[in-house]
Amino acid sequence: MSVLAIRDLAIRLPRGADRAYAVDGISFDLAAGEILCVVGESGSGKSMAANAIMGLLPDLVRVERGTATFEGRDLLALPERAKQAIRGDRIAMIFQEPMTALNPLMRIGEQIAEVFEAHGKLSPRERRERAVALAAEVGLPDPAAIVHSYPFQLSGGQRQRAMIAMALALEPSILIADEPTTALDVTTQAQILDLIRNLQHRHGMAVMFITHDFGVVAEIATRVIVMRHGEIVEEGERETVLNAPQHDYTKRLLAAVPSDVVPTAGAVRDTPMLEVQHLRKTYTTGGGLFAKPRVTHAVDDVSFAIAKGEVLGLVGESGSGKSTVGRCLVRLVEPDGGSVTIDGEEITSLDAAGLRRARRRAQMVFQDPYASLNPRTKIARAIAQGPIAAGTPRREAMADARRLLETVGLDASAADRYPHEFSGGQRQRIGIARALAMRPELIIADEAVSALDVSIQAQVLELLRDLKDRFGLSILFITHDLRVAAQLCDRIAVMQKGRLVEIGKVADVFLNPQDDYTKRLLAAVPGATWTGALESA
C-alpha cells in the first residue's frame, strides 16, 4: 500500500545554476513498511526531492510542478502552516551530519522533548519522560543521564541516535533519511543501519533512505531507485537492481564500487623508501591551575616500512591516529619520539633547511579538494608554486605544470582557470599534479578519494595506480574505507586508538585477519555479503 505517491515532480533551480531543474519530472511510490533507497551521485537531485517532500527547499529553489500525495492530501500544495504541522509529526527526517545537525547550546533531552512541544502534545513533565524513553529505545547509553548532556559530549554515532529519537518521537508514518550514515565510521554505520532497520520493523514506518553507497543499499534496501541528473534511470527490487542492473549508468556505478576482489600485489622490492620506527605523538589538552590536563596518545609506538614502488594502506576509524602518522612523516606535526627515515635520511632531526629539501621527496595529497586549493590562485600557479619556491625557474615550472595537468588526465587549458571552475574529482587530480610537481618519491595520500563520488573515486584510484607504475612511486594511502584500500594497496596496516594492530598483505588481512578489531572492521563493511554474491554470480 502506497503511503506517499510522487507524480511528475519537477524542482526548478535558481538562474545561474548548472542546470535548470534539480529534479525533472520524477514519479515513484513509497509503500508502507518498506525501505526505499534512493541512490545517486552528488547533484543527482535525490536530496532535493526529499527536501521538497518535507517543505524544506532552500529559498530560491521551488517546486514547479507535480504532486506528492500523502494521507489524501497533496503535500506540495499545502499552505506553510499545514506543512509545518506534518513535519516532525507524520513525516520525520534525519540528516547526514550528526555533528552539526543538533543545536550545540541545547541539552539532548530538551531537543527531543521539543518535538512534542512543537506539536502541542503532552505536558512538560511527560515530554521529559518520553525523551528518556526514546533515548533508551534508540540505544543511547544511560538514557536518564544522557538527556542532560550537550551534543558535544556525544560521539557521532550517539548524535545520530539522538536525531533518530527525535524523528521517532511522534511515530511518523514516513521517515526520510538523507545519507544518515555517510559521515560515520564503518562500525558505527553498521550499528545505525541496524537500528534503522529494527525501528522500521517495529514501528512499521515507510523509510525513504537516500544514499550514494551501494554497500549501504545492499544492507538495508527493500526497493531501489537510481537517480541521475534529476531523473530516475532505474527502479526495482534490491536484488534485481544490484545483480541484474538494466541501465548503463547503474551498471557503471556498480562496476565502480570497490569490491573485495583483491588485485594481484605488485612485485615488492626490498629497499625501503620509508621506514618508521617507534613513532609517538601525544596531545595534551586542557589543564589549568586546578584542572588535570587530558593526555591523548594519538600515535603510540607505531613502526612500519614502505618499499620502493609499494603502496601501503593505513586504515582506521576517525580518531585512530592514522592522519597524525601521515603528518608526522613530513613533520607537519612534530612527533614526540621515534624515527622516520625517507630513503635512509633521518627526518626527525633535520633543521629547517634540511626539512625543506626532504619535503620535496615526500608530498601530501589531502582529503578535501575544495579546501586545499587557494581559491584566488590559478591552477598552473598553484602547481608551480612548490617547484618555484624550491628554486626551479618560473617559466620552466609553469611549463611543467601544464604537462603535469595532462599527466593527471586534465586538459592543459585548465592551467589558466581558478579552482572553483572544477569539479571535486578534477580538483583532486590537480592536488595530485601539485604533489607530482615536486618529483616526489613518496606520496602521502590522506583520505584522498573519500570526498568523491564512487565513479570519480574509481577514476582517481586508477590514476594513482598508473602513476605509481610509471614513476615507481611509493604511496602511503590513508583511508577509513577498507574496500578502497583493497583496490590500490599492496599491503594494509590497521590502526586503532593510536596503535598499529595488524599489518600484512591485502589478501592476508582480508581473508585471514588476525586481530579482533580488524575482524570487526571487516564485518561492518556494508554490503559485505552482497559483494560475495556478485562474485559467485
Partner: protein
Amino acid sequence: MRILSLIATRLAKAVVVLLLIVIANFLLIHAAPGDPAAVMAGEAGAADEKFIAQLRERFGLDQPFLVQLWTYVKGVLQLNLGYSYRQQAPVLDLILERLPATLLLTLTAFVISLTLGVVSGVVAAARQGKWTDSLVTSLALLFYATPLYWLALMAVLLFSVQLGWLPGYGYETIGSDATGLAHALDVARHLVLPALTLGLFFTAIYMRMTRASMLEVSGMDFVKTAKAKGLSPGRVQRRHVLRNALLPVVTLAGLQAGQLVGGAVLTETVFAWPGIGRLMFDALAQRDYNLLLGILLISAALVIAFNILTDVIYSIVDPRIGAAP
C-alpha cells in the same frame, strides 16, 4: 566549581598582567619628553634652577629611575596610587570621586547600544534584502560614520539650544540642592544626550555583528533540524538561531565593556561631564604623571576584569567551553 577554578586561574594571571602593565606605563611615560617639575615651576612663574631642584627633591624625581619605579610599584601593591602634585590630593581619591559619573554614562550607553544593536540586527536579518533591512543598516552606518564629537555638538544644538528640551552640559543643575528622586531625575535629564550620542555610535557595531551572525546561523544544519521537527518559524528564530547568533556578540560586548572607562573622553569633554575621561585629559595636558598612571592602571584593571567576566559568561552560555576538561 569549574567556573570558580576558571575565575581563580584567570585572576592569578591577571595580577601578573597588571604588574607588567604598570611597569610598561611607567617606562613609557618617563620616556616621553617633558619634566613635570619644570612645567610646574614654569606655571608658578619661578623657573629658576633652585626651585626646580627643590620640587624634584620633594616629589622624589631626583632619585634614580629604578628607585622611582620600585617606589611606585611598592605603592601600587599597597593600593597606594601616589599623590597628585597638581591637584594636591591622593590619586585614588581623585579617581574614585570621578568614577561613578563615568560608569553611569558609559554603562547607560553600553546598554543602549547593546539592546538597540541586537534588536535592530535581528530585525534586519529577518527582513534580509527588504527595505527595512536597508533602512536599519543605513541608519546604523550613518551614526557610526559620523564623527562622535560632531554628532554630540549637533545633539546639543538641536535638543538643548534650539528646542530647549534637555540640558546640554554638566552632570546636574548647578546650584540646585535637590535631593532623592528629584536629584536622580535631574541627573537622568543630563544623562540623556551624552548617553544617546555615545550609545548610537556603538549601536552600528552590534547591529552588524548580530545581523551577520543571525544570517550565518540560519544556514546551519541544526536550524534545518529544528524546522524538520515542525517548530514554528518564530520559535526556530528565537530558540535556535538567536541563541547561537548571540555568542560572537557576547565576545564583542566584552571587548567594548573593557573600554567603558577610557572610551568616553570625547563625549565627556563635549558635554562637560565630570568623569574620568576629562580627568585623564587634564592629567595628560598638565604632565600629572601619578594621576595619569593611576587612571591608566584603573582602566587596564577594568579591561582585564571585563575580560574575565566575558569568559565566565561565555562559559555559561556556551556549554562547550564551560565544560572543557
